[in-house]
Point group: C2
Chain length 148, copies 2
DNA sequence: GTGTAATACTTGCGTTCGCAAGCTTTAATG
DNA sequence: CATTAAAGCTTGCGAACGCAAGTATTACAC
């Protein structure tokens, strides 16, 4: 009987909920950012010119374009991100990482790395963590937007 | 270099987003349920008298009690769930699975099992799926509410 | 070129959710 | 008992989100 896939999926959902709970708090209180906003900045950091269009961002964040538009608005006001247009294609409105945003995303990354390490600090060997990361990576293998 | 925990966490977030996208559609169109509603029913199915208080459900769903109250309302209208009170403690308002709810949750479970199997159908060995499930289970080891 | 389709973005609307406040009921303290 | 604390639930409010519709711009077909 092969209910292993089902068990795996359920465990995935539960693990993600736990991680999100653990991380959202500190991310908000320390950096003033929601988890989704942090991911948005990290995607920009990895992008070619540190900028992405709204639809590209939406795909990477598994969100709708309207959500990205609304997420970018307050981050533009606080100067983490700037709006850029493309001279070649007037439809495009890039979300570009500013210097302030670049600085912040570095700190955010450090926070996430520290919290991630804490998550596996007890009862986990390095090999187990690496193995889990590799297996999870295979689920999203075809997708774009690697943040590591 | 010990960025493995960070990579693992990022991959976990991405994998969950993909799974949620994949499952929400069919779950909604076939059974008329959101993923959270399906999880709620499955928690009730596993509970001692097939019923749980709202705060217990909230903990298991990683949601707030008010969210559970609001989730239960339409499901009560459609007869999947019934409200029960406790003669010993008048504060308690159980969410109890009805016969219709029990029938539906069985079908929902089959759908989820089938979709889960599809998720790993290509490029995954049984051992790899089982290994991933086991590792993910360790993240939420201390929590209550096992759905398998 | 001209008309049609496709793409990128934004906005209105409804839904879902958490937080804080409030109500009711039970537990604990003296 | 009486009083205070705690627990469970609900409601008001605001924030975040997706969908559908609308606008503007580019690409394609002929």
């Amino acid at each position: 009987m092969s209910k292993a896939p089902f068990t795996t999926v359920i465990n995935l959902l539960r693990a993600q909920a736990l991680v999100q709970d653990r991380f959202s708090g500190e991310l908000g209180s320390v950096h003033g950012l929601a988890l989704n906003e942090a991911l948005l900045l990290m995607h920009l950091e990895k992008a070619p010119l540190r900028r992405l269009t709204r639809v590209d961002l939406a795909k990477r964040l598994h969100a709708s374009p309207s959500t990205v538009t609304r997420m970018a608005m307050p981050m533009e006001k606080t100067g983490l991100v700037a709006r850029q247009s493309d001279p070649r294609d007037a439809r495009l409105a890039y979300v570009a990482l500013t210097e302030a945003g670049l600085t912040l995303v570095g700190e955010v990354r450090k926070t996430l790395e520290r919290r991630s390490a804490e998550l596996f600090r007890d009862r986990w060997s390095d090999a187990e963590v690496a193995s889990l990361g590799k297996l999870l990576g295979r689920i999203t293998a075809g997708e774009l937007g690697d943040l590591t």
